[in-house]
Structure formats: C-alpha cells, structure tokens
Amino acid sequence: MTDDKDVLRDVWFGRIPTCFTLYQDEITEREADPYYLLLPRISYLTLVTDKVKKHFQKVMRQEEVSEIWFEYEGTPLKWHYPIGLLFDLHASNTALPWSITVHFKNFPEKDLLHCHSKDVIEAHFMACIKEADALKHKSQVINEMQKKDHKQLWMGLQNDKFEQFWAINRKLMEYPPEDNGFRYIPFRIYQATTERPFIQKLFRPIASGGQLHTLGDLLKDVCPSAITTEGGDRRFLTHCTRCSVFPQNLSLR
C-alpha cells in the first residue's frame, strides 16, 4: 500500500467546490447570501457543514429552524453517503461549483436518515469500517484494535488528519504474506437510477486458478448489464472510500 501513497493522498485531499443556497421558501428575516465551501470528498455532509448551518441560521428565527437537510435539483442528499459519492452520482456531469440547496423544514422522512448529532455520523462511519473488515479479515483486525484506535480513525476523518487516520487504517489494509489478498473485497456499486441503493456481493480478489481478479472481472460478475457491448455512455467512477481503498488500475488486490 505504501507505493500507492500518492493515490491515497490524492483521494484524501480531494475537494468539491460547492455553493450552498437557502431554499427560497424558508422564512428569513433578511436576505440570505449563498455560502461557498470546498467539501472533502471522503467526508459526510453533516460533518463538514457547521459553518453553513451557522451562516443561514443568522438570518432566520429560532422557531423556523429544525433539522438541516440538503437537496440537489429536487433530490434529497443522503448525508450518510460520502460527499464525493453524492457528487459523482448526481452532479458529475455538471459545471462547478456544485449547487446544493439547504433546508431547515419539512424533513423528508421517507428519504433521509436523521442525523441529530455527530455521534450518529461516528456510529455510521464505524459500522462501515467494521463491515468492511468483516469482509476483509473476518473482523479479526478491527476487533483486535483498542477503543482508542477506533477513535483515532474517527478523529482523523473528522479533523482531516491523513497521517493520523492512516496510522490505523494501514493495519486494516494489510493481509498476512501467506494470503494473496483479502478474504473478500469490500465494494459497493451505486446507481442513481435504481430503487436499490447499491449492489454489494461477496467477491474474492483471487480466482480459483490463482490469478488476480480485475475490476472488469468484478463488474462482469456482479453487474453484467453494465458491460454490454452495445454503444452508449457507461461510465464507472471509482470513489475510493475507506471501505474499499484500492488502486484504480486493474488489480483488485
């Protein structure tokens, strides 16, 4: 993994320039200016938008403010997806900055999970880490870590500390030399057009004959309709999250 450090840093420090605008029907005491922010691809909306919230709450009355939520062109944005994933899913073809609308009322209960505190984000983040390790190492690595190591992963993400995060995460990305890779590759394939949020299946990095599987093999196995020989623009964006960090080139190891 060390020779991929450049890639890891590029992913970690990836940013999306975003313009936040208050929803027009929100009741304000004076006009609300839009708020511009560079959003980290690997983080979560509700974790990095405290300033956005403060900015708009300044022009609103307290009683008009309940749980904040975000929307892009009418689609509520799932805060529990990484920001980069949301952008790639909904707005990758559009010009920057990414325009997000901010709401403080009428929380869409049928679409979005609630996020009443940072603890909820932490719980979700750690659950993802743990599920990924269940696939990679039968949970052995994550379970052998101490509570403070788990906390360090979360704090690294929360405070944008690459070295602090990877000091722990590198253990989750290793495997014993006698193995040729993880037990299963943690991956999810997201599509904006389906009801099903993502495709996730058990997939081994090594084929029975011993050769390494490639991303193409995975797609063929898991999502064959995506690799048809017909014409048409089928693009695969690999968003490297902490659950499935591996190089974008071919090998899945």
């Binding site: 949970s139 509570k147 979360w154 099903r196 996730q200």
Partner: protein, 313 residues
C-alpha cells in the same frame, strides 16, 4: 425467552417449552435502556462499563463489550463449525444465504398455515429477497392536556393501564377516546457480510407520518421489560434498507452467532430440526413488538427433511 437458562437445558426443553436458549446476561448489564426511552439515531444504548462509544455497534462484536462471559461453551466437533474467532472465544455458526432462504421458505409455509401474515418478497432486479410482515395495531395516543387537568386521577389510571397492561389498551382507549392505528412493518434480510439475518422495521400512522424511535419504544417497552435482563445485547439504529433504499430501524443483536450457535449445537446433537429463522426471530423479535406463536417451534421438516438436516450438519 423463558428465563435464566443455560443453553444446554434450553435446548433440551423441547420445542414447545422454549423457542430459544438465552445466554444469561451478566448481572447489572442492561440491554436496551429501561431508564429512559432510546432516542433516534443513538446506538449503544445503556452501555455497560467499558463500552461507551456509539461507534461500537457491530454484529458479533463481543470483544468490544466490557464484560466477561459468564457461560463457558464446549468446543464443538460438528463439521459445520467454522474457524474460531480466537479473540473473543466465539465459535460461529455461519448461515449461508441459500440456507437462509430454505429456512425462510419453511417459515413462510408455516405462517401461511396459521395465518400469521409473513411472506417472501423477491426483488425484481437481482433476485434476492426478504421476509416481510405488516400488521396493524391500535394504540393509545397521549392524553390531551385538558383531559389531564379535568380528570387527574382518571388520566393517571389510563396511563398506567396502558403501560402495565397492554391488553387493556382497548378499554383505556374507549375511556379516553384517543386510539390510533399504527402500521408496523417488519423485514428480515440476509447480511452477506456477517452471514446472519437482520431485522429491519418501521411504523407509521395511517396518514403516513412515521413513528419516531421514541414512539415505537413507547408501545413495546412494557412487554420487553421482562426480557431486558435476559436478552442479548441489542442496539437500534436507523439505516437505509439495502433493497428499498428507505429509512428503517435496524436491530443489531450483537453476538447473534453466539446465542444461536449454542442452541443449534444442542439441536444438532439431538438430531432435532431447528429452523434458524424461527429461533432467531423468536429471540430478537419481542424487543420490537414482534412475537411468534409457539406453533412455529413445532414445525417438523416435511419432504425436505433430508435437505434440512443436511443444512445443519
């Protein structure tokens, strides 16, 4: 669950007596908080010492829990047993997806026979699926403030009647006239990552307004009180349904494999058929107001005897 039983005796209890063997919870270890209703979005409720972070929610995550197990398990020689996890001393009984579907099929068949309302839904795109049941329940709405003031004693009685005697709900509702129908939905999905079933649920009023976790707890809390000391550690969080993409509440029984393994091992040794889904659902369902009639436990394999027995051996 019937009480503090060791897994061995529970398994010998016969199908009618107890649907599952519970791991006795260590003394003083609260499962879901009974001091106050859990609020939405919080995981790790009522944590014992040493288990403080909400980030510690996880399946089969016993090594994170700050207490030592009071029950020692015998190592098992069964062929189905997987590699011991070592750290926590877990010996897991993994449920493969096709066995999950077999057990669900058997489960649904019995449900149909007794009219219990479970069905299997297959997803159109990938062919996976889940067990599903919807039921409606009448529950009391909170007493409106003016009624409270006028009939202080009555209101108190009504409130107590609701909390302590759920069967008197209708009577109480008739007295104060504020009953509401709630639609409960329960889904059982398979987790490939952890190789266990997972219980998803949600509830809404007839006008579509979803219940918050607090509101759901208000109606099951009383009946679960008795089980709090005995049940496995449970937490509830809100999550996206993996097939429907909508918010559901999810029950995360930690150490699912532990308590399941203990009982299934006993069944295996006695060459008795046990439906994993029945066993599991009868243990975790009551936490969220879902109860299974005892007749499920008496289900014997039909023509699929050979297949079912093989599934457990």
């Amino acid at each position: 669950m019937e009480g503090q039983q060791s897994p061995a005796t529970a398994a010998q209890g016969g199908p009618g007596a107890s649907l599952c063997g519970a791991i006795p919870a260590p003394a003083g270890h609260l499962a879901v908080g009974c001091t106050r209703a859990p609020c939405m979005g919080r995981a790790g409720l009522g944590a014992p010492e040493g288990h403080s972070s909400p980030g510690d929610v996880g399946f089969g995550d016993s090594s994170q829990l700050g207490f030592s197990r009071s029950t020692q398990f015998q190592p098992c020689e069964g062929a189905v047993r997987s590699v011991s996890c070592g750290m926590a001393g877990e010996e897991d009984f993994f449920l493969e997806e096709k066995r999950f579907r077999q057990f669900c099929e058997e489960f649904v068949k019995h449900s149909q026979q007794i009219g219990d309302g479970w069905e299997w839904r297959t997803s159109k795109d990938l062919g996976d699926g889940y067990l599903c049941k919807t039921h409606f329940q009448v529950r009391n709405r909170h007493i409106p403030p003016d009624l409270k003031e006028k009939n202080n004693d009555n209101a108190e009685q009504i409130l107590f009647a609701h909390v302590e005697e759920p069967s008197d709900e209708c009577q109480a509702a008739a007295v104060c006239g504020t009953e509401e129908t709630v639609r409960y939905e329960y889904h059982v999905l398979y987790s490939g990552s952890y190789q266990v079933p997972v219980l998803y649920f949600r509830a809404c009023f007839l006008d579509g307004r979803p219940l918050t976790l607090d509101e759901i707890w208000g109606s099951v809390h009383a009946s679960y009180q008795a089980r709090l000391q005995e049940g496995p550690w449970d937490t509830i969080t809100q999550q996206e349904h993996p097939i429907l993409g909508q918010p559901f509440f999810v029950l995360h029984p930690c150490r699912t494999n532990e308590f399941i393994s203990a009982v299934l091992r006993g069944s295996q040794e006695q060459h008795r058929h046990t439906n994993y889904i029945t066993l599991w659902l009868s243990t975790v369902g009551p936490v969220v107001g879902l109860n299974l009639p005892l007749s499920y436990a008496k289900v014997a394999p039909e023509q699929s005897t050979a297949v079912a027995e093989r599934a457990l051996s």
